[in-house]
């Protein structure tokens, strides 16, 4: 089949790329506004210092770290789970998100210049950079045949597609090369993605702060990341399906499978959370106890129990008994919000109750932090929306290949 025919066949996938209706602008403009506002907020913060946030002593890391861990979790889990959907690419921004948090953000590259290998932050930096590079290549390679197709389909966008398509023509040799490349990258991306989140957790786990200094932090964070990642994918896919009318491609059984996966991770997450708090509660020292009780009954009890409800109590029965599309949507949104709160309750209470029990502190995010959080979320979405206008959200050639395989050996 020539490319023109394929394109016509998958008009539904390509259609969103040509049409920019009212809905599109209604989405993009507010998102862009929020995003620009956050840029302004960052400019403000850059100018007058990190003091514009609500951080202080001893709460020296707060919202930005929560966001960093949360978004990195979502985007990386996306990469792990989704080879079909390309939602992960919006997560590339997160490594830069880390730079917002620096006192002198203009010097983030000093981490490379004056590297000290003892520091977990350096590993963090290295892993994220590696992951960033690999996943960019991975997703790009996966897209090359589609871009070749698009180059032919949209002549007025050739300036963009031509260099990106690397002169793809779809010969046998090219197919076999790309197959090999994908094979290698598929294997490579998984350990890297796992390592990224492991290292993010080690940034905490290697510190002496009470409740952070825990051995299960690495798997706990990975599970949490995949958990929130799947939820995010479900939400995004459902949205795409609805907006771009992709019902033919995203069938309910896809979602059922996703729901089952989510259910598994609900249980896994609950298990890890229980284990984490049980060990601390059963045997921990006084400093750990202080943090634990501030989470269970103290200052952070409200947040903690909201998190427990959102991450387990609501989604668990829904996922068992009511695995329909609305059910999935509700539970996924609950999980996303809940997981954000989980990151918050991991990071902030340890600062408020530091090891030296005499030190007192408090934390309330400022407008800058709220704006940056909103901006990050908006930017995330915006990037994806714009991306979906430039590239197909579902890989055409993979769908095609799948169909061809089905045709060649029908069951």
């Amino acid at each position: 089949m020539d490319s023109e025919a394929i394109a016509r066949k998958h008009e539904k996938i390509l259609a969103p790329m040509t049409r920019a209706g009212r809905m599109f602008w209604a989405t993009v403009i507010p998102l862009a506004a929020i995003f620009l506002w956050s840029v302004f907020a960052f400019g403000w913060q850059y100018r007058s210092g990190l003091g514009e946030t609500g951080m202080g002593h001893p709460v020296s890391w707060a919202f930005y770290l929560v966001n960093f861990v949360f978004f990195i979790g979502i985007s990386h889990a996306g990469a792990l789970v989704s080879a079909v959907l390309r939602i992960t690419r919006a997560g590339w921004g997160t490594p830069f998100g880390r730079a917002f948090d620096l006192g002198r953000s203009s010097r983030f590259y000093w981490v490379a210049l004056h590297a000290q290998f003892k520091s977990p932050l350096l590993w963090d930096f290295t892993c994220i950079m590696t992951y960033f590079t690999v996943s960019v290549i991975f997703l790009y390679v996966l897209m090359v045949p589609d871009i070749g197709l698009l180059r032919e389909r949209f002549p007025n966008r050739r300036w963009l597609y031509r260099p990106l398509s690397l002169g793809w023509t779809g010969t046998e040799k090219e197919w076999s090369t790309i197959g090999k490349a994908i094979g290698i990258l598929c294997v490579a991306v998984i350990p890297i993605a796992v390592s990224v989140h492991t290292v993010v957790s080690w940034v905490f786990g290697m510190q002496t702060q009470p409740m952070w200094h825990s051995t299960i932090f690495a798997p706990y964070f990975v599970v949490g990341a995949i958990y929130s990642g799947i939820a995010a994918i479900i939400v995004v896919t459902l949205a795409l399906r609805k907006v771009y009318h992709l019902e033919d491609y995203l069938k309910p059984y896809h979602f059922n499978n996703m729901g089952l996966l989510l259910l598994t991770f609900t249980l896994l997450w609950a298990y890890f959370t229980f284990a984490e708090h049980l060990t601390v509660g059963y045997s921990g020292g006084s400093a750990e106890q202080a943090v634990l009780w501030s989470k269970l009954t103290g200052k952070y009890a409200l947040l903690f129990w909201i998190m427990a409800v959102l991450c387990f109590v609501i989604p668990f029965p829904i996922l068992i008994f009511w695995r329909t599309l609305p059910g999935l949507l509700i539970s996924s949104i609950c999980i996303i919000v809940g997981m954000w709160i989980e990151r918050y309750t991991i990071i902030i209470p340890s600062f408020i109750e530091p090891r030296l029990s005499y030190v007192r502190g408090d934390y309330m995010p400022s407008w800058v932090e709220w704006s940056m959080t909103a901006g990050l979320a908006a930017g995330f979405t915006l990037a994806f929306v714009i991306f979906s206008k430039l590239f197909p959200v579902i890989s055409i050639w993979e769908t095609e290949k799948e169909e061809r395989e089905k045709e060649s050996n029908p069951r």
């Binding site: 590259y109 000093w110 490379a112 210049l113 031509r162 260099p163 690397l166 002169g167």
Partner: protein, 183 residues
């Protein structure tokens, strides 16, 4: 097409490398540069009065400490104020050179000479002149030809951390950051 991509990649790599090189090995790049173009090592500074060092030190046999009177005891060496100049240049009796007459004019007006500071270290560096003088480090190690020239000149290739550290290492001085970095 391929060429364009390749050249792009090469450009990115080169600029990355340049960035790293600039920050990581400043002294080496700079010394390499100055070894090829030594002429740029010396920068003459337009002082309000072109002080003739060689005349004062060799012909008149004045000690550096005579004008830079804190060099032996303090962090700063000190720039001469007109009280010191006054000792000789209260009138034009000592010398009638145009530069000397400028000094006389300053002295008579009672105005300080607005010397330009030539060797300016960042504020976070503690450079005690006294210690270096006591350890018999010759002024020219850092100040180059200044004491032996007719015009005030500045040696531009010296004010780098690695250069200081090299020298410290050679002479067995401490290379602890706190030896020089102010708290």
């Amino acid at each position: 097409m391929k060429k364009a991509i390749l050249s792009l990649i090469v450009l990115v790599i080169i600029s990355l490398f340049a960035l790293v090189a600039y920050h990581r090995f400043p002294v080496r790049t700079k010394t390499a540069f100055f070894s090829v173009f030594p002429i740029f090592t010396w920068v003459s500074i337009d002082q309000p009065v072109l002080f003739n060092h060689i005349l004062h030190t060799q012909n008149l046999n004045l000690n550096c400490n005579f004008c830079h009177r804190y060099a032996g005891q303090y962090r700063s060496a000190g720039l001469p104020n007109i009280e010191i100049c006054k000792a000789c240049h209260a009138t034009d009796a000592m010398s009638k050179r145009p530069e000397a007459l400028k000094v006389v004019r300053y002295v008579q007006k009672g105005k300080e000479i607005p010397w330009e500071k030539m060797y300016d270290l960042p504020k976070f560096v503690v450079f005690p002149h006294s210690i270096h003088v006591q350890n018999n480090i010759d002024c020219s190690v850092c100040h180059g030809l200044t004491p032996k020239k007719e015009r005030p000149v500045k040696m531009v290739d010296r004010n780098y951390m690695a250069w200081c550290m090299d020298c410290h290492q050679k002479r067995g001085a401490s290379n602890d950051c706190y030896a020089c970095h102010s708290s």
